[in-house]
Symmetry: C2
Subunit: 337 residues, 2 copies
């Protein structure tokens, strides 16, 4: 798309605090003159038979067409025999990699100030196969499925990411000493891809040891790539190192170049509509979308404005111990732009 034609992107404001924090992103994007035109979609109030969930078919079509999107928190309505909204999105859009750039934020002190790593999680298979059954009474089993295709795809994404983002090393996380066939296949695929990237260092780290090293010295890691469940665990662990899900950006990569950025925290219904929510995770997530579109200048500018506002510490929302409203914090970011 040329510089003058805006890029269309799907926006799922989501539930609870979603609309407020989405508003914050829209405002910051306007201020920074990001050439994006939003196509907004809300979660439906009844099950769409074509998606078997509360997500409308139109909203999925919108992402498929635009190939980029941003998603706020979505609370799956409980107890109605349908699929979780997040899992449905992953499945329907074939979002095969979840990518989380995880870096210490100036202005929000945790026990760690030296985190700067990327977790890349395979997002479609592994322990999430949904294949489970009772063998006999009192004995149940779950199947973990690893395929060559999905493993190569996520490994390829990880190395490509490392190369295009100036990263030096990819660590494949596994438990192949116990699951020799499944995690063994995952490692084999990573090794094959590693061969094609001689400039990127490659290592393999057992998951238990990885978690121990992460809490001792996260600076040891650069890009981590791993099967689904390990990614689920490690990406949240890493979020904890920098302060939690309210500060952690996330982006899902799908087949055909789809990028759906998302805030992975909850919808916080208790504070919804009160102008108290922290939009940081959604803002930082929106940057991953911009970078996916190679709008690095815009992303850098907005990132600097967010980080400066945070360092200054004057406008801090309640979850971070401050008293600022969502809109004041957003205005402060706009002022920094």
């Amino acid at each position: 798309s040329s510089d003058s034609t805006p890029i269309r992107a799907t926006l799922f404001p989501g539930d609870g605090i979603g609309p407020e924090i989405a508003e914050s992103v829209k405002q910051v994007f306007r201020e920074a003159e990001v050439p994006i035109e939003w196509e907004e979609h809300y979660v439906g109030d009844q099950i769409d038979p074509r998606t078997q969930s509360f997500l409308t078919w139109e909203s999925l079509e919108s992402v498929r067409k635009n190939r980029v999107g941003l998603k706020g928190p979505m609370a799956t309505p409980i107890g109605k025999g349908h699929r979780s909204l997040n899992l449905t999105l992953r499945k329907e859009l074939n979002l095969y990699a979840n990518v989380r750039p995880c870096y210490s934020l100036p202005g929000y002190k945790t026990r760690y100030d030296d985190v700067n790593l990327i977790t890349i999680r395979e997002n479609t298979e592994g322990e999430y196969s949904g294949l489970e059954h009772q063998v006999v009474r009192g004995v149940v089993e779950s199947l973990k499925i690893i395929t060559r295709q999905a493993s190569l795809r996520v490994a390829e994404y990880a190395f490509h990411y490392a190369k295009t983002h100036g990263r030096e090393r990819v660590s494949a996380i596994h438990k192949a000493n116990i699951m020799q066939k499944t995690d063994g296949l995952f490692l084999k695929c990573c090794r094959e891809v590693a061969e094609k990237y001689p400039d990127i260092k490659y290592e393999e780290v057992v998951i238990d040891n990885c978690c121990m090293m992460l809490v001792k010295n996260p600076a040891l890691f650069d890009v981590l790539v791993m099967p689904n469940l390990y990614g689920d665990i490690i990406s949240d662990l890493c979020a904890g190192l920098i302060g939690g899900l309210g500060l952690t950006p996330s982006c899902n990569i799908g087949e055909g170049g789809i990028a759906l950025a998302e805030a992975v925290h909850g919808s916080a219904p208790d504070i919804a509509g009160k102008n108290l929510a922290n939009p940081t995770a959604l803002l930082l997530s929106s940057l991953t979308m911009l970078r996916h579109l190679e709008l690095h200048d815009k992303a850098d500018r907005i990132q600097n404005a967010i980080l400066s506002t945070m360092s200054q510490g004057k406008f801090r929302t309640a979850d971070l111990g401050g008293a600022s409203s969502t809109s004041d914090y957003t205005m402060a970011i706009c002022d920094h732009l």
Copy 2:
């Protein structure tokens, strides 16, 4: 056993630094007049057909008879088509729970100074079933098995432990939102046992969230109980919080009241025989054995001597940045007794 008859306990000094650190425990026990008589067993140099591993049948018989033992690090010889020594011990002795008291050590500073929790890991099934196969080329699967029997057994141990050790709360760690049948059964068993312990609080925490909370605020946790792989991951994560495997005690509980304490760190062949090894993990592990035998006075005395020596900071081995020898550190502990 009466006060005058010594209790027989099996000792596997293990490989590499094993014999040196085992010597350290023997010395400290002598100094503290612990009424234990060691029955020493080494790993064999050929496969014993009765155990299908380098562990001798006699050594396993010794643990079965004595019901208590202490184990140093064992390096499984590589590439000979036999079972790992650690896994063989778990299988043969039916060591169904791995228990790790994890507490911040005075005198060894990490980013955390408020850790005081117990991880209890189911040690026999789950992802460690060894059942894996290729479905078609490029598609492999591993089976995770959860049984009612093993889940009840470890849950029962966890609540019993909490009750007898003055602990207030048991948290069951799971991913039942994804693995509803397997982790769901595990939770169901924990709930059943929880009913029998109305004085112990019970909660359920999803593993990804648990890891995030652990790195943010480990003081939130008391006793954690979980299926095999989550236990593998979380017990090492927690070890990382207090400084690593070189400082973390561990004990395996088997059917019929067996307790096999063990240092879970490696055998460090590079420094073996040089009087440089850190015996702390094995010493702290030996305390879990004493507590299992209800020799709490002895355990308390030795624990205080170790902690005082560590706080003093004068005798610190190389792995902790000091220059003390194994034997000087051991002597210092004996002096504190």
